[in-house]
Amino acid sequence: MFFDSDLLMSALRALTPILLAALGGALCERAGVFNIGLEGMMLMGCFTSVTTSWFTGSAWLGVLAAALAAAAYSLILAVGAVTLRGDAVVLGIAMNLLAVGLTSFLLRTVFGVQGTFDDPSLSGLPLVGGLTPLAYLAWVAVGVAAVMLSRHVWGLRLRGVGEAPDAAATLGVSPARYKYAAVLVSGVLCGLAGAQLALGNVTLFSENMTAGRGWIAVVAVMLGRAAPVGVLLAALLFGLAEAAGFRLQGLGLPQQATDAAPYVVTLGALFLTTARRRRTRPSSGAAV
């Protein structure tokens, strides 16, 4: 009974925040904005959702606030990279640093505590069939994103903007507008991911609680080639590897080995997928 329903549920829980954030990352990637600030945007979502839920007593308002706050936060990337043509990688890293500093700082000023804010009366998201509504939403989002990207007018334009912004511009499609939209939507999705983590997976806020999940989302975007279904598979792979890792500890594997497992599995998956691509599209031999 290694692969039981608990394992699946555990994998699904691990997957949801990563999937939501990675979908946002994929949209940005498609629009030609390299977004590695997912981690920071998620953390802002965590903090806002907990704060709002605490003061209003409503987890759903928390979710809403998280989406809005993370979207507002994502404006740093949009303005910096799109309008001011700054370097998206530097901005993303700065946003991750800023989110850690800012949420810790606010945790001290708002709640007067350090480290963790937790209270039994903090209301979390309800569970439906063992998962939060956001978990289902994440799956729906995959479908919507897939259809939008491949079939909808906006998706076509977004893909065009990402591939050749000046070509889009000459046809009257404003690349900046689409890039802004993609970044803001990724903000919303990361906000939801944060809310899922702080009000769904657990019901509390602790400093740096995203703990690298945003980076995994970045990797999932690459592994899934920025296609919604690909991203889903990548996140699923990661979720399963992590959940299986927890179980493997039970079988006596050292914690260090199970910690490393998801990364090794992901790397292996990357090898396999790129190897297949290399076989199907042989020798683009020119070094250039």
């Binding site: 608990d6 350090q114 480290g115 963790t116 609680m209």
Partner: protein
């Protein structure tokens, strides 16, 4: 005014007394253990009509800088909490023989005239909690969730298993470690680890997952299982789920330690266990009734646990310490 931190030190009103500096290895935050240390040093300052400062570190680099800064400020006693400081204190104690150091929860390997230590025998308390778990478990499976697989944290899991087996020999035991990229903060991972035990039928969980404890409690609550907290009374965070807590009276150790040093008996190591009242269970203290702990409703269990405690205090029962190899 936020820019004036230690009223006692900046104001001249009470400056006649002694000065103490507490250096922590991590941010105090919600770390109950460190909070108690702060309480202890504040109480000592009050008692000796003196002043105190708290330097919070976050990593080895800041630990080093804070100890350096503390030494340069030359307070009467520098209090350091945690085994992270063993090397640093040894180095500084040699360099500054006039400076008094008080180490809590750890000690230098060599002894120094100016280093006093207070250590705890948490395993005794954890053992008793394990016994409660063994008595209360319906499935006959009790587990623990630790931050990391280190000897220090194994003190919270191995004796727990031993205690349970002592009262119910057939008990199955298992331990999970949070691990991951930030093991001390990752409540979501802690919750998943707890879930992986709960899904196997474990119904009593020792939670030694630092900030992740809240995750463990949530997991237990969701499955109707029970958990055990550490350091202080954590029952109010999840009433009906947290059975009991292994209390570690860091505040007492700090206060008494400072007294000892000021009293001229530096260079000693005091060990706090059940006997000295440095380690206890919430259930064994006064005020169990209002503690919101599940154990308050299990007087029979408490009776048996009290008997075990008396045996340990009397030295008739010895609990193995996983950190002593």
């Amino acid at each position: 005014n936020a820019a004036a931190k230690n009223d006692a030190s900046s104001g001249s009103a009470k400056s006649s007394g002694k000065s103490f500096t507490l250096v922590t290895p991590d941010a105090v935050g919600q770390n109950e253990f460190l909070k108690l240390a702060v309480t202890g040093v504040k109480a000592a300052a009050e008692q000796h009509d003196g002043s105190q400062k708290v330097y919070e570190s976050t990593d080895t680099a800041s630990q080093q800088q804070n100890v350096q800064a503390a030494v340069e400020a030359k307070p009467d006693v520098i209090v350091l909490v945690g085994f992270e400081f063993a090397d640093l204190v040894a180095q500084q104690a040699k360099a500054h023989p006039k400076q008094q150091f008080l180490m809590i929860d750890a000690c230098t390997t060599k002894t120094y005239k100016n280093v006093s230590c207070a250590v705890f025998r948490e395993h005794e308390g954890v053992y008793l909690a394990g016994a409660e778990a063994g008595l209360l478990s319906r499935s006959g499976k009790v587990g623990a969730v630790d931050v990391l697989d280190t000897p220090q944290f194994r003190r919270y899991s191995d004796p727990f298993a031993a205690g349970a087996k002592k009262v119910a020999a057939k008990t199955q035991t298992s331990t999970r470690f949070v691990g991951g990229q930030s093991p001390f903060d990752d409540s979501a991972r802690a919750k998943e680890q707890a879930d992986s035990l709960l899904s196997k039928g474990y119904d009593q969980l020792m939670a030694a997952a630092a900030a992740g404890n809240y995750g463990v409690f949530e997991a237990a609550k969701a499955k109707g299982a029970f958990a055990y907290g550490v350091d202080v009374n954590q029952c109010p965070s999840a009433p009906g789920t947290v059975v009991d807590n292994v209390i570690k009276r860091t505040d007492v150790a700090v206060e008494k330690g400072i007294d000892t040093v000021l009293g001229g008996k530096a260079g000693t190591t005091v060990s706090y266990g059940l006997k000295e009242g440095g380690i206890s269970l919430t259930g064994l203290e006064a005020g169990v009734g209002s503690s919101k702990c599940v154990i308050a409703d299990h007087k029979d269990v408490l009776k048996k646990v009290e008997a075990l405690r008396d045996q340990i205090v009397a030295g008739k029962l010895k609990v193995d310490d996983p950190a002593a190899s």
